[in-house]
């Protein structure tokens, strides 16, 4: 058991830090620390340009094999990259979904045609992706998907009809991967297909969802006979669930330490304010700030265990608690920020509804415990998969 990184890894860290120092400046100065959760809709063009700068330095898709333009970086190196990226104030990655979800999915399940067509533009910072899983009737119960895909018997082309929701940045993306039902008589996780769909076409309509923060990062995406070529279904028709679940397994938690770096800057800001306005003398605030500090360290060592875990990538116990832990921690931090600010937390500086960072933090962290699997779903998964407790009997429904 050893917590220190190797000398070679530390050298890699220096390389990352130096490159970021040389490049995240000048025209990119304004986007430092921008575009994270709650701020994803901001500086989109600048952040796309930044993706191309990253690509020039071979810093996109570093976990991919070298044959596809990656660095085949080890887990440790990916962790280090995310840490240094966050430390340097690197902006929210527009290429995140392509890099960490689409790419690994195609590398594992995609055809040679799909890889050749879709991987290079992701790697080069030229194509941006979003994900189409949730539907109005399929949230926590993802297998209740109703979007359907029908294949033309002659051309082989698929036509997709239905609605996806909570699709972040769809209006700024080029493609979406869509989970849709290929067999109209199927139910649950059977009979689904995994489709690669271009967003810029007549059959796709995107509508932003206005949030409690006054901003809009998420969208509703309507498909009305949207077309998808025969070669753009990943795996066989009916394999969609397997592909989608494999995709979840690719998130090995390499970005968690970078995420924690952002959390640390938020906590530091709250501590700075508490010291300045005297809230730091309140015994309750003192306990909660200490608790937040301990929680952040706990997340770090939970992550370290997770990353040092099984080589096969299967989820360990500590990986299963991660989402529940960080989302609850972050939501508590948002409330702590308000309590440290006191009455001033209410004040909005500009006439329009432009919230400051901590106000956004407070409001948007209410989403953290919902998206990506609600805390309730997380607890079910922990109880069933880690503790072997039986599933709740399913409702009889219609």
């Amino acid at each position: 058991m050893k917590l220190a990184f190797t000398a070679a890894d530390e050298q890699f860290r220096e390389e990352v830090a130096d490159w970021l120092n040389d490049n995240l400046r000048d025209e990119f100065t304004d986007i430092r620390y921008r575009g994270g959760p709650g701020d994803e809709h901001r500086f989109v063009d600048e952040r796309k340009a930044w993706e191309r700068r990253l690509a020039d330095g071979r810093w996109t898709c570093i976990g991919w094999p070298e044959a596809w333009g990656g660095r085949a970086a080890s887990i440790e190196q990916q962790v280090i990259f995310h840490e240094e990226y966050a430390r340097a104030g690197g902006p929210g990655r527009m290429g995140h979904i392509g890099d960490t979800l689409t790419g690994p999915t195609l590398l594992a399940f995609g055809s040679e045609h799909q890889k050749a067509k879709y991987l290079p533009p992701i790697r080069d910072g030229m194509a941006f992706w979003s994900q189409g899983y949730s539907e109005p009737g399929a949230g926590s119960d993802l297998a209740a998907i109703r979007t359907k895909a029908v294949q033309d018997e002659i051309s082989g082309q698929w036509k997709i009809t239905g609605q996806k929701v909570w699709t972040s940045l769809a209006h700024e993306s080029d493609f979406v991967f869509v989970l849709a039902r290929v067999d109209r008589d199927s139910s649950r996780h059977h009979g689904l297909g995994f489709f690669l769909v271009a967003l810029d076409q007549p059959g796709v309509t995107i509508r932003p969802i206005n949030q409690l923060t006054g901003t809009a990062e998420f969208n509703e995406v309507y498909f009305d006979d949207a077309v998808c070529d025969a070669e753009d279904i990943v795996g066989a028709p009916g394999d969609g669930w397997k592909v989608a679940m494999g995709l979840l397994g690719f998130e090995r938690g390499v970005s968690t330490l970078g995420q924690q770096m952002l959390f640390q800057t938020e906590l530091d800001e709250i501590i700075r304010i508490a010291k300045a306005n005297g809230a730091s003398r309140d015994p309750d605030i003192r306990q909660r700030i200490a608790e937040a500090h301990i929680g952040l360290k706990t997340m770090r060592y939970n992550s370290m265990r997770m990353l040092s875990g099984r080589e096969d990538g299967s989820l360990s116990r500590e990986a299963m608690i991660y989402k529940l832990y960080w989302s609850s921690w972050h939501r508590n931090l948002g409330k702590l920020a308000m309590d440290v600010l006191g009455p001033d937390a209410e004040l909005i500086e500009s006439g329009s509804y432009e919230l400051n960072k901590l106000q956004s933090l407070f409001l948007f962290t209410r989403a953290d415990t919902i998206y990506g699997g609600t805390n309730q779903i997380q607890r079910n998964l922990i109880a069933e998969r880690a503790l072997g407790m039986p599933k709740e009997p399913r409702g009889q429904g219609k």
């Binding site: 050893k2 501590i271 306990q287 700030i289 301990i294 040092s308 529940l324 079910n380 109880a383 709740e392």
Partner: protein, 379 residues
């Protein structure tokens, strides 16, 4: 970076857990608690001869195994899991204190004595229960030095062949002495406690004369405070084991218990409680092994004292909460039988309560962290 057990550490974990599953059964623990000796001397002998756990932290030149703090944590976690009622904690704590003392013939004799399986207990807690002040004074007379006062919550003090005693001298600095409990002016009283699995003693000194070769360390402020941090980490290991076992036996119970024609483990109200318990248990475990690695790094001169103390504060706050939460929820998950004498969850609940405040409450740990974060230079 490999924050996972080595093969050897995993093997130690497996053998420790298997040994205790066999020897420290519910019946054995209950028998030990109600025996006049307050533990099973034969089991302790077996631990010392067959497992050699008392030697884990003792260097090889003093007949120990010369292993690290991760190994110590592994074994103490297994001990907590099985409610082990033995002087293992007391001995590990005394070893930690002695290793911080300046080299001396007496120190090496005591380490060898520990390696041989003798119990040596550390007496440092004061009369009012606080841990940052000391209840024993060392006063120089014209001919000798005498100890007076009282130390409480001395683990297994009644079974100790020697006592390590923290005392404050007339210039108000701390000193560490070794005292024979049989010597004049020293009385040891076995203290009845609500948690019977971690028996304690009260030691009183009435002008007990000590010779200069009994002085292990003078100007011992840092030694005492470091030993306190190390003792907290030892306790955290026990708490992680208690928290894990409370979760495990409670989940097992809910799987067997049927109501409304269903196993109650299938109810989300039960599952979500269990999930929250597991979240706390795994988090406490992460901080335990972080703290254990930090001790090893501190001993190797790679990190400073502040890192050691911060790790101890954090791990203690987290594990104290985890153990009490897990055992408390465990009783609730057991329903009515949870409050009976027959089921073991009550034993875990009591041990969790006892360790929660043993070396300082979680709120005190958090306040110590808050001081570090908030009471420096103003912004």
């Amino acid at each position: 970076m490999k924050f996972a057990f080595t093969d050897e550490q995993q093997m130690l974990r497996d053998t420790s857990r298997a040994f205790l599953a066999d020897k420290s059964t519910s019946a054995a623990v209950r028998a030990a608690c109600s025996s006049p000796e307050r533990h099973d001397a034969a089991l302790w002998q077996s631990i010392c001869e067959d497992m050699y756990w008392q030697g884990i932290l003792i260097p090889e030149h003093a007949d120990g195994l010369g292993l690290g703090w991760v190994e110590m944590a592994v074994v103490l976690e297994a001990a907590g899991e099985r409610l082990l009622t033995s002087p293992l904690f007391a001995v590990a704590q005394s070893t930690a204190a002695l290793l911080g003392c300046p080299a001396s013939e007496m120190r090496d004799l005591l380490l060898a004595s520990l390696a041989a399986g003798n119990v040596i207990s550390l007496a440092m807690g004061n009369q009012s229960g606080g841990w940052d002040s000391v209840g024993v004074t060392a006063t120089e007379t014209s001919t000798t030095t005498v100890l007076s006062g009282e130390a409480r919550f001395v683990p297994f003090g009644f079974a100790a062949s020697k006592l390590l005693v923290v005392a404050r001298d007339t210039s108000n600095t701390q000193t560490l002495w070794v005292v024979d409990p049989q010597q004049g002016g020293v009385s040891v009283e076995s203290t009845p406690t609500m948690d019977q699995t971690r028996p304690m003693a009260t030691v009183r000194f009435e002008r007990a004369a000590v010779a200069s070769d009994q002085l292990l360390a003078s100007y011992a402020e840092e030694l005492v405070s470091d030993t306190l941090a190390l003792s907290r980490i030892l306790t955290v290991a026990d708490q992680v084991g208690v928290a894990q076992a409370s979760l495990d036996i409670s989940v097992e119970y809910t799987k067997e218990r049927s109501q409304f024609d269903r196993s109650i483990a299938s109810f989300q109200a039960i599952k979500h409680k269990a999930a929250d318990m597991m979240l706390k248990v795994e988090s406490a475990r992460s901080l335990l092994y972080y703290a254990a690695c930090t001790v090893d790094a501190w001993l190797a001169g790679e990190v400073d004292r502040d890192a050691l103390h911060e790790a101890a504060f954090m791990a203690s706050a987290c594990a104290s909460d985890a153990a009490f939460f897990s055992a408390g929820c465990g009783i609730q998950m057991h329903g009515g039988v949870g409050i009976t004498e027959e089921y073991d969850i009550q034993l875990y609940f009591k041990r969790a309560r006892a360790t929660e405040s043993y070396l300082g409450r979680p709120s005190e740990m958090r306040e110590a962290i808050a001081c570090q974060l908030l009471d420096g230079d103003p912004a």
